[in-house]
Symmetry: C2
Subunit: 143 residues, 2 copies
């Protein structure tokens, strides 16, 4: 899986005429090894712990590249920080977010997706993307 992502990125780099750099490789390594839904700051801190010379701006720019290359996606849970999650070929999911501890659970529901398309169609919209997040207490925090 990591191999696939790395290939995806190096192909992207080549296709765009960009350069392969130590920093980009390092950041990709950390991104792939990380939990999902990392904020720029969080990833930057993890990277910096091992590579104090890599700057915030580079992490920021590299995450944008990952998104452009199709291996990451920007998400916004309303806490004021942009997060990046992993994208897997042909996969789509939405989120359950715990309002107490921040736990994020992913889910897929084809029936809902289909209904969303119908809603859009009934209003004459041509849907490009959508966002669905359910906020509440996770099993642990309910107790």
């Amino acid at each position: 899986m990591k191999r696939v992502k790395k290939k995806l990125f190096s192909d992207f780099i080549a296709r765009k005429g960009l350069k392969s750099t130590r920093q980009r490789d390092t950041i990709l390594e950390f991104f792939l090894a990380s939990d999902r839904h990392m904020s720029i700051e969080e990833l930057y801190l993890k990277v910096r712990a091992k590579h104090p010379n890599i700057g915030y701006a580079t992490v920021y720019r590299t995450l944008k590249l990952f998104a452009e290359a199709g291996l990451a996606r920007e998400i916004q849970f309303g806490d004021g920080q942009t997060r990046y999650e992993h994208v897997n070929e042909g996969e789509h999911h939405d989120h359950l977010v715990c309002t107490r501890c921040g736990t994020i659970v992913e889910f897929e529901n084809p029936v809902i997706e289909k209904l969303q398309d119908e809603v859009a169609k009934s209003h004459g919209f041509l849907i490009e993307t959508h966002k669905m997040e359910l906020y509440g207490l996770c099993p642990k925090c309910r107790k």
Copy 2:
């Protein structure tokens, strides 16, 4: 309807031991008269046109109060501005957002809502709120 909202707010003011002020009344008036989904800046500009002495900070703080009082809700469509929409007793809706012209259409879909509850339950979550937005081109922008 406006009467109900004003009552709701004055009750809130009283209950919280806050003060009734000219500014709050004015801002509420403009909020109730406005289209839905206004950003702070937009409402501030409308208010300022007639009341040049009311400051941005007051509009900002007053909108927060409206939300706390239950007559407005903060929404975030990813354009970098916080917006406030009207809340009507016992009503819930989600949004279709045109990515080209910004048009916002509201819709309700009980079937989706029910499925969302089921998803949450199957993951042991106790849902408090949710967010569902469908982004794409509105009928006009499709042409």
